[in-house]
C-alpha cells in the first residue's frame, strides 16, 4: 500500500508524540493516576461511605465517571497546549512549516496527540477506579463517543491557548483558573438536581457539566440532563473550537514571522 505524503507527515507527528508521552510517562500518565486514586480513596471510600446514595447509586460509583472525565479533560488540554507552545518557543515547529505539510495536517498532528493522551489517561484511570469500586458499563458507545468528543474539544482548546500564550506561565492560567473550577462545579461530586434552583440553572451554563453527565450516563445510565443535549453541546463546542483553531492558523497563529 502506498501512503500519501500528507498521511506520512501526519503519522510522523503522531508517532513522535506517542513516543514522547510514553517516554515521560511519569509526567504524562502517572500524575492523573495518583490524583484520581486519592480522590477515590478519600471521597469515595472514606467520606463516601458516610454520604447517602445519589440517584440510587453508592457515592463512589456516582463520582467515578466525573473524576475520569476530569483527568481526561486536563490531559488532553495540557498535551496540546504544552507541545504546541514548546514547538513555538523552541522553533521546532519550523520543521513542519518548511515542509510541504498543509496547515490542517499540522493542526491534526497536534490535536491527535491530545486525543491520544486524553484517551490513554482515561483508560488508565478507569482501571485505577476498579481497585476501589465495581464499574458497570451501561452504554459503551456513549462512553467512547463522549470521551472522543471531549478530548477533541479540549485538544483544540489547548491549541488555542498555546497560540495565544506568550510565556510558560500563560499555559497554566487557563487550566488553573478556568478548567479546574468549571470541572469541580460541573457536577463531578454532586448531582445538580440537589442544588437550589438558582445554582442549578447557573450550572447549566457550565459546558463541562454536559461532558460529565454524558460520561456518567454511558457508565451508569443516569444523568442530570438529557443525553441528546449533552452531545449537542459537546459537538457544537468542538466544531466551534475547530473553526477557531483553523481561523487562527490561517491568520498565521503567531507562527510565521
Amino acid at each position: 500500500m502506498t501512503r500519501s505524503p500528507i498521511f506520512i507527515g501526519y503519522y510522523t507527528m503522531v508517532r513522535k508524540d506517542f513516543i514522547r508521552i510514553m517516554r515521560i510517562w511519569s509526567q504524562t500518565l502517572l500524575p492523573p493516576i495518583v490524583t484520581t486514586a486519592l480522590y477515590f480513596a478519600i471521597f469515595g471510600t472514606f467520606i463516601g461511605s458516610q454520604v447517602r446514595a445519589v440517584n440510587g447509586l453508592s457515592y463512589i460509583s456516582f463520582i467515578v465517571p466525573g473524576i475520569v472525565m476530569m483527568s481526561v479533560i486536563t490531559s488532553a488540554y495540557m498535551n496540546t497546549v504544552s507541545t504546541f507552545y514548546f514547538a513555538k518557543w523552541q522553533r521546532t515547529i519550523d520543521e513542519q512549516l518548511v515542509s510541504p505539510m498543509p496547515m490542517w495536517t499540522i493542526i491534526a498532528g497536534f490535536v491527535t496527540g491530545g486525543v491520544m493522551r486524553g484517551l490513554l489517561v482515561g483508560v488508565l484511570v478507569v482501571i485505577t477506579s476498579l481497585f476501589f469500586t465495581h464499574l458497570v458499563l451501561f452504554n459503551i458507545a456513549v462512553v467512547i463517543s463522549a470521551a472522543v468528543l471531549t478530548t477533541l474539544l479540549f485538544s483544540f482548546a489547548g491549541l488555542v491557548n498555546g497560540i495565544f500564550a506568550k510565556s510558560f506561565d500563560a499555559i497554566s492560567i487557563v487550566p488553573t483558573f478556568v478548567l479546574t473550577p468549571l470541572t469541580y462545579l460541573g457536577g463531578v461530586f454532586y448531582s445538580v438536581n440537589q442544588l437550589p434552583p438558582f445554582f442549578r440553572t447557573l450550572s447549566l451554563a457550565n459546558p463541562i457539566l454536559y461532558m460529565v453527565n454524558a460520561f456518567r450516563y454511558g457508565f451508569l445510565g443516569v444523568t442530570d440532563v438529557s443525553v441528546a443535549v449533552c452531545f449537542a453541546v459537546m459537538g457544537g463546542l468542538t466544531v466551534l473550537f475547530f473553526l477557531l483553531t483553523l481561523f487562527l492558523f490561517i491568520r498565521g497563529a503567531g507562527l510565521k514571522k
Binding site: R3, S4, P5, I6, I8, G9, Y11, T12, M13, K16, Q90, R91, T92, D94, E95, Q96, L97, V98, S99, P100, M101, P102, G252, K256, K257
Partner: protein, 310 residues
C-alpha cells in the same frame, strides 16, 4: 538551456515586520539552476528575512517569489519540497536524538519511514555524524549541531539548498570540510544559496554574489567581475622607524591612514598603482620595511560598498 526554469526568481520583494521594521525594500533577484550563490551583507541587512520568506517561515508584504518555475502563491506547499533550509539559529528539539531529528524531518516531507532511515544514514555519514546518531542533539558540539542542520535540510534531496550562515562557529578544518562537501553537492546539481559573514568563503565557493545592505541589493554579479570592477586594494605598510606626523601630512594625496606608530594602511582605488603610491611615500623619506595584504579582496569590495551606501 532556455527551457530550464530558474531555481529562484524574486521580484519586488518587500517585508515589513509587525514591529514596523522594513527588512526588505523591494528586492529582485534571479538565480539559475545549479548556481552557487553567495549572499553578503552586514548584520540586519535582511538576508535571513529573505531566506525565511523563500522557505515559508515568514510571510511577505509584497512581491513575487518563484521557485523552480512555480509561484509560491499558487503552490505554497508544493514549492517547499524543492527547498532545503539550514537556518541561522538551531531549531531542532534538543531533547531528541540526532537520527530521529533527521528521520522525522523526512517524514514531514512525506518520505516513508524505511526510506527515511536509509536517507538519514546517508546524510549523517556524509556529514560525519553517524557515530553520534543515538546522542541527544543537546550533547553535540556547536559545529556538530550546524552539521545536523545541514543533514536535516538534505534528507529530502532538495533542488535548492538555502544556507543561512552555516559556518558560524565552525572551526577552520571543519569549515574546509564543509566547503568541499558543499562543492560536491553543488557539482551534483543542487543549487546553493549561501549566506555568510566570511567573505573569503564567498570568494572561494561562489560563482555569483549579491551584496545586501539595509534591505536592498547594492551590488550583484560574478564574484570575479565584482572584485575586479570594484577593486579597492588595501595594503598594510610597515615602516622602519616610528612615523612622524609632519611626514604623514605630506601624503595627503593618497588614501592613507596611520594604524599605529610603525604601520600605515594604504587603499588604492581602481586605476591607482602601487608604484605611484610608493614613489610618493619614498619622497617624504618614510622607509617601508614590509608590505602586507590586508584580508580578502572581496572584503575590501564589501567594506567599501557598505561605506558608500551609508
Amino acid at each position: 538551456m532556455a527551457s530550464a526554469p530558474l531555481a529562484l526568481k524574486i521580484e519586488g520583494l518587500k517585508k515589513v515586520y509587525d514591529t514596523g521594521t522594513e527588512a526588505l525594500k523591494g528586492v529582485s533577484l534571479t538565480i539559475p539552476q545549479g548556481e552557487f550563490f553567495g549572499f553578503l551583507g552586514p548584520n540586519g541587512a535582511g538576508k535571513t528575512s529573505l531566506i525565511s520568506i523563500v522557505s515559508g517561515l515568514a510571510t511577505k508584504t509584497a512581491g513575487t517569489v518563484e521557485i523552480n518555475g512555480l509561484s509560491m502563491d499558487s503552490y505554497p506547499d508544493k514549492v517547499k519540497s524543492f527547498i532545503g533550509l539550514v537556518p541561522q539559529e538551531f531549531n531542532f528539539n534538543i531533547f531528541e536524538k540526532v537520527e530521529d531529528i533527521v528521520v522525522d524531518q523526512a517524514g514531514y516531507y512525506g518520505i516513508p519511514r524505511e526510506e527515511a532511515r536509509k536517507r538519514a544514514e546517508k546524510v549523517l555519514v556524509q556529514l560525519g555524524l553517524w557515530e553520534k546518531r543515538a546522542d541527544k542533539a543537546m550533547d553535540l558540539s556547536g559545529g556538530m549541531k550546524r552539521r545536523l542542520l545541514i543533514a536535516r535540510a538534505l534528507v529530502h534531496e532538495p533542488k535548492i539548498l538555502l544556507l543561512d550562515e552555516p559556518t558560524a562557529g565552525v572551526d577552520v578544518e571543519l569549515r574546509r570540510g564543509m566547503w568541499d562537501f558543499l562543492r560536491e553537492i553543488n557539482a551534483a546539481g543542487t543549487t546553493i544559496v549561501l549566506t555568510t559573514h566570511y567573505l573569503e568563503e564567498v570568494e572561494i565557493l561562489c560563482r555569483t554574489v549579491a551584496i545586501m545592505n539595509k534591505g536592498e541589493i547594492i551590488a550583484e554579479g560574478g564574484v570575479k567581475e565584482l572584485i575586479s570592477k570594484l577593486n579597492y586594494v588595501t595594503l598594510l605598510l610597515d615602516t622602519t622607524e616610528p612615523l612622524i606626523q609632519a611626514k604623514i601630512v605630506l601624503l595627503r594625496g593618497l588614501n592613507i591612514k596611520k594604524i599605529d606608530d610603525t604601520t600605515l594602511e594604504l587603499t588604492l582605488k581602481p586605476g591607482e598603482t602601487v608604484n605611484d603610491a610608493l614613489r610618493t611615500i619614498s619622497g617624504t623619506g618614510i622607509q617601508i620595511a614590509n608590505i602586507r595584504n590586508s584580508g580578502s579582496r572581496l572584503e575590501e569590495v564589501f567594506v567599501n560598498l557598505i561605506k558608500k551606501d551609508s
